[in-house]
């Protein structure tokens, strides 16, 4: 088997006495959309934060395309092709949509220690920003301040920012969070397009979306991976049913 794009091995992270990430190992193959699901408090965001470098693990390792990145700071991982979106929208509110995306392109286009030329007139950066905005369907909102955009639009900008850095691997932390039904459907459609171009790790609560999109699913409960497999296998898995999907409420609610 070829080297996986992302390999997580025996990752452990504790908060005081609580083990938030308990010996988690998982592989994400190139071109795969790998979903991570689990009930609230299962440690999904803690895991993502260790993948992005916002939180250091106590033991274990993370490698990207064969390179150990366990202790690299966030900005270095980003340079290696890892991009993320935040669970709670995190954008530059007092910048326009285009500026937000152009900055992400700028981070990957040579040095930013340039003090004199007007960065907003750099054609390369502006074109990249507009291409990414166009990709998520927001080209017409390019010059609007992010603080004036709706929640749904901000979720899309998050995605455009991640795309503008031309990542190898996209870590999406609940991209559907807080979206309405139509907006969610739009996001699913968009992710279906994007997955053709980039490998994705998707953390999501929206079960129909996860089962519609994922090649493989890992189920996290109390910080541990209790099952990993394709959607059909996960749906049939007894442990998963008991721990998570077995909850009638969840199934009917999302069904």
């Amino acid at each position: 088997m070829a080297e996986p794009l992302l390999r997580v091995e025996k990752l452990v992270r504790r908060f005081g006495g609580i083990i938030a990430t308990d010996n988690v190992s998982l592989d994400v193959a190139s071109g795969e959309l790998h979903a991570i699901i689990g009930p609230n408090g299962a440690g999904k965001t803690t895991l993502i934060s260790q993948l992005t470098g916002h939180l250091a693990p106590h033991s274990g390792s993370v490698s990207l395309a064969g390179r150990d990145i366990t202790y690299l700071p966030a900005y270095r991982r980003c340079a290696l092709g890892l991009a993320r979106s935040f669970q709670i929208t995190s954008l530059l509110l007092d910048f326009t949509a285009a500026d937000n995306v152009a900055l992400a392109a700028q981070a990957h286009a040579g040095t930013s220690f340039r003090f004199f030329a007007d960065a907003r007139k750099e054609k390369g950066l502006r074109d990249a920003a507009h291409a990414a905005l166009d990709r998520v369907g927001l080209a017409h909102r390019a010059d609007v301040l992010v603080s004036r955009l709706s929640h749904g639009e901000r979720r899309q900008i998050e995605l455009a920012v991640a795309l503008a850095s031309k990542p190898k691997l996209l870590l999406l932390d609940e991209p559907m969070a807080g979206l309405g039904v139509t907006e969610s459907q739009g996001m699913v459609k968009l992710l279906q397009e994007l997955r053709k171009e980039v490998s994705i790790v998707l953390v999501e609560h929206d079960m129909p979306a996860v089962f519609a999109l994922a090649d493989r699913i890992s189920v996290l409960v109390y910080g541990r991976v209790i099952a990993s497999g394709d959607p059909v296998a996960i749906r049939a898995n007894e442990d998963v049913k008991r721990a998570y999907l077995g909850d009638q409420h969840v199934v009917t609610h999302h069904g």
Binding site: T52, H54, P73, A74, Y75, C78, A79, A83, R84, F86, S90, L91, L92, L93, D94, F95, D99, L103, A104, Q106, A107, H108, T111, S112, F113, R114, F115, F116, A117, D118, A119, R120, E122, V161, S165
Partner: protein, 314 residues
């Protein structure tokens, strides 16, 4: 768009006034006003440099007056040691400020928020006490600069009008540089870090090194103000570094409008004119000044520039 044009019109008027001031001073024979405005322009330069890190960069430095002292002492100490050339004094003043900023910034930028404010304040107070202890250079009493910086015939700093225009040129030059910087790649990164540091890290920018470079640029600019100030007063003392002076600079920036190009100039003009005229009326001028500033800060969000913007829209 109309709001923009009101603040632009006022700014243009103010600049025209500053350019024509020596003419008025000459015609009316009022020399005092020229001296007063030379000081205002120098402190406006200091406020503009502070605005670069505070308004654009979101770094609340409470120790910016230290650079006034460092720039000033560089000129004063060199003059005392017999080095009178401005071509040496000014570069030394800038370099000393830059080095101080580099060291202080590298240490202070490990902290955020209130801690950053306190640590920059603490370092400035240290500089203050070091200067007070310089017995050879006057200690507490300060150091008289007997000869202004000598630019060998290029420009005569002892000529009031020439000195005034030198200060004005420095101010406009620095504002031009700040304008270019804040719209450059570097400037967008620094402003992005002010807005959302976590996001900027996530898209691949190491925060600290950009903030540190910005901190050094700002400190160097303020060192220039210090060198000019020492020439203006023919004197430099630890008092220029005292924390209340750092506070004055912050007030000028906030009063005029943080993160605007000409706000700090506007703030310095209003602040220092108020101080000047209120202190002529009563010795308790601070009692009037305080509430006035409070009102502007409370009701004029965005300072004077913000008020002008809204006046234009309303």
């Amino acid at each position: 768009m109309k709001g923009l044009s009101v603040s632009k019109a006022v700014t243009a008027l103010m600049l025209a006034g500053l350019v024509l001031l020596p003419l008025y001073s000459q015609l009316s024979g009022n020399i005092f006003i020229l001296t007063l405005f030379t000081r205002i322009i120098i402190l406006a330069l200091a406020a503009a440099s502070l605005n670069l890190i505070m308004g654009f960069g979101g770094m609340m430095s409470f120790g910016h007056a230290a650079y006034l002292g460092i720039g000033g002492y560089a000129v004063g100490m060199l003059a005392q040691e017999g080095v009178g050339s401005g071509f040496i004094q000014f570069p030394v003043a800038l370099a000393a400020s830059a080095i101080y900023a580099l060291v202080i910034g590298a240490l202070s930028l490990r902290t955020r928020g209130v801690y950053f404010i306190m640590i920059t304040l603490a370092f400035a107070q240290m500089a203050y006490y070091v200067a007070s202890g310089l017995a050879r250079y006057g200690g507490d009493d300060g150091l008289t600069v007997y000869n202004r910086s000598d630019f060998s015939g290029l420009i005569n700093l002892s000529n009031r009008t020439q000195f005034y225009y030198l200060c004005l040129a420095c101010l406009l030059g620095v504002i031009f540089l700040i304008w270019r910087i804040v719209n450059s790649r570097f400037g967008l990164v620094v402003q992005g870090l002010r807005s959302n540091e976590q996001r900027m890290q996530a898209i691949g920018f190491p925060a600290k090194r950009y903030q540190l470079v910005c901190f050094v640029i700002s400190g160097t600019m303020c060192g220039l103000a210090g060198a000019l100030l020492a020439n203006n007063t023919d004197f430099v003392s630890p008092a220029v570094m005292y924390w209340t002076r750092s506070g004055d600079l912050m007030v000028m920036v906030i009063l005029g409008g943080m993160g605007t190009l000409f706000g700090p100039v506007m703030g310095a003009v209003v602040f220092l004119l108020l101080e000047e005229f209120l202190s002529q009326i009563t010795e308790y001028w601070a009692l009037i000044m305080g509430p006035l500033l409070l009102l502007i800060v409370l009701f004029g969000r965005g300072g004077i520039m913000g008020l002008l913007g809204r006046a234009g829209r309303g």
